[in-house]
């Protein structure tokens, strides 16, 4: 396909050798968000079928861990489930690394309750904040709305050092503390289990986990909007949908033909792959815009 042409044009780097019918060789390294990882894995899997001689390896050190390696120059790209932080951007600058941010999919953070819960099916942002914020008291459902049961709320949330937690914390709680009695887990499946097992439980996690467990628990509508592919893609499910990003090292795109090719493939296929693994695709324009920017980097 298109990679054919590019392959012929450059070739100044030792690791990129041409190889018959548009086959290129080389290696690409990435790391970062565990949220983005399933999409990347799908992309790598598909890409391997097209370019079997390009070695793509991707770590799952989390968004922060990914940036750390990105700053150290160890990786070509870094997956992120949030935007880059100021400190990280500054560090990149210090390291003389120029980068570009690509959006590749949406993830809706889904607030869920036990399937027996018939009261808290629709919550406002304020109610969410009231439920989740740490205020030094033990909260009952009836504290949020007097018509709700007089029973203690049980909280399940992703680990405090995850992008999901961060995002929720920032958007819903304005950066204030999450209730300290929350049961935290590094594994979102476990949160699913927790909420399923307790009538008074509430929890949140990535949309993909909800999709897989739809029949076991209930998603809470936020301000009357239910999380679905449509509402996330068209931006109705605000504010709890976030973008997932890939940050690429500009220099590496120039140097490493295989990397360029992989990124190009990624942007072309990200939408499909995102949907395949339970995320929400971006509007097509966004991908096209990304491809254009990628071309400019070359």
């Amino acid at each position: 396909g298109t990679s054919n042409e590019e392959a012929e044009n450059s070739g100044n780097s030792a690791q990129q050798k041409e190889n018959g019918e548009g086959q290129i060789t080389g290696s690409v390294m990435g790391d970062g968000s565990s949220t983005v990882a399933p999409i990347t894995e799908a992309l790598v899997e598909e890409y391997a079928a097209v370019q079997p001689n390009v070695q793509v390896s991707v770590g799952v050190s989390g968004t922060g861990g990914g940036f750390e390696k990105f700053i150290a120059g160890e990786t070509d790209f870094s997956n992120a489930s949030r935007d880059i932080k100021e400190e990280e951007a500054a560090a990149l600058k210090d390291a003389g690394i120029e980068y570009t941010k690509f959006e590749i999919a949406y993830d809706g953070i889904t607030v869920v309750v036990n399937s027996e819960n018939d009261w808290a099916t629709d919550l406002t942002i304020d109610q969410l904040k009231k439920i989740w914020i740490e205020d030094g008291t033990k909260k009952k459902w009836s504290d949020i709305d007097p018509s709700w049961p007089d029973e203690e709320i049980v909280y399940y949330a992703p680990g405090t050092d995850s992008g999901t937690f961060d995002y929720f914390d920032e958007i819903i709680l304005d950066g204030e503390d999450l209730v300290r009695s929350a049961q935290l887990s590094e594994d979102d499946n476990v949160i699913v289990q927790g909420v399923v097992s307790d009538k008074n439980a509430i929890g949140f996690f990535g949309y993909a986990y909800y999709l897989e467990n739809k029949d076991k628990l209930k998603a809470v509508s936020v301000n009357g909007v239910e999380p679905t592919n449509e509402t996330i893609e068209n931006g109705e499910y605000i504010p709890l949908s976030r973008s997932l990003y890939v940050f690429v090292n500009d220099g590496k795109v120039k140097e490493n033909k295989a990397f360029f090719d992989f990124m190009k493939f990624s942007l072309e296929n990200a939408g499909d792959m995102a949907e395949a693994v339970g995320y929400v695709r971006l509007p097509d324009e966004k991908y096209e815009e990304g491809l254009k920017r990628l071309e400019e980097l070359k």
Binding site: S61, G62, G65, F67, E68, G159, F165, E186, D187
Partner: protein, 314 residues
């Protein structure tokens, strides 16, 4: 009469002819040099660990007072408004798991070891021991899921108030994980107690139980202690089981039915998490690592002292 071999030379003459002193000398001098260098690698490793941890730890203590760290009872590093770095909840989490693990593994392990050395036939021992050693090799994430998806639900039927994340279940499972090494090492220690000593006791009319508990066990004490120490170290250092089944909530209480976080689980959380490079949280990972290192170091020194003290020489 002098023996002649082969080509008519005496063996001593053959030997004299074969001496290649210089080459021999090089090997004789060279090998010990290689050995001592190998031995020094373990020292260098320790230095490397200290070196790895110390700079980031110092950086951390530039930002957080060491007093707050050591005496604080709140560990909320991710709190946006008011992060706190009191390590005690993490230490307590580690201690809870370790104590439960030891409470499970030591009696059970010693019982099995006694059974294998003193009661079981040779055949049984030769079958059971390697099977149990398989337990030792089972990856800890497997144990982690075992704790979360099997032990916790089973325990919940007995203790309804048990939370999904708790100290009890991972504690028990860590105990099971260290069981094989306790069994294996104490079994070795006990079976190396000379048989003559056992026979001496049996000949006095002692029962097997009395021989095991009053003669063999004390005689093997230093080996048994060593196995327990190693078990404790592994319990303290265990990561995946507690990350999966213990939760991620550092609490400062003595409740074992609720969610906890251990020092190791915290390190994994940060190292696979979102914390930005250069943040206090990032440095805290090293400080906790250092604490963990000091912790095991102290424990080993104490254990070393104890086992020296109670050694029964034979």
């Amino acid at each position: 009469m002098v023996q002649r071999s082969g080509n008519g030379q005496s063996i001593q003459q053959l030997i004299a002819k074969n001496q290649k002193r210089t080459f021999k000398n090089i090997i004789e001098k060279g090998m010990p040099l290689f050995f001592i260098m190998a031995a020094l690698i373990s020292v260098i490793t320790t230095l490397g660990i200290v070196f790895t941890l110390i700079f980031e730890t110092i950086e951390f203590f530039k930002r957080v007072s060491i007093v707050e760290y050591l005496s604080g009872t709140e560990w909320y590093p991710f709190s946006g408004s008011n992060p706190t770095f009191g390590v005690l909840p993490l230490v307590l989490g580690t201690l809870k798991v370790t104590i439960i693990a030891i409470a499970v593994a030591v009696p059970l392990g010693l019982a099995v070891a006694i059974y294998l050395t003193e009661y079981a036939t040779d055949r049984t021992r030769r079958i059971i021991k390697p099977i149990l050693e398989v337990l030792a090799g089972v990856p800890t994430i497997v144990y982690g899921f075992f704790a979360l998806t099997f032990v916790t639900p089973v325990l919940q039927t007995i203790i309804p108030s048990l939370k999904l994340f708790n100290a009890l279940s991972p504690g028990i499972v860590v105990g099971i994980m260290i069981l094989p090494s306790i069994i294996s090492l104490s079994e070795d220690a006990m079976s190396s107690v000379p048989n003559g000593i056992r026979e001496g006791a049996l000949a006095l009319g002692a029962t097997k139980l009395e021989v095991s508990l009053k003669v063999v066990l004390p005689a093997a004490l230093s080996g048994i202690m060593a196995s327990i120490v190693l078990g404790i170290s592994r319990a303290i250092g265990e990561t995946m089981i507690v990350s999966l089944a213990g939760g991620a909530t550092p609490t400062f209480d003595f409740n074992i039915t609720g969610s906890i976080q251990t020092m190791t689980a915290y390190i994994v959380q940060v190292s696979s998490g979102d914390a930005g490079f250069g943040t206090t949280i990032y440095y805290s990972m090293y400080a906790v690592g250092f604490t963990l290192f000091i912790f095991t170091l102290m424990m080993n020194l104490v254990a070393h002292y104890i086992s020296k003290r109670f050694r029964e020489e034979y």
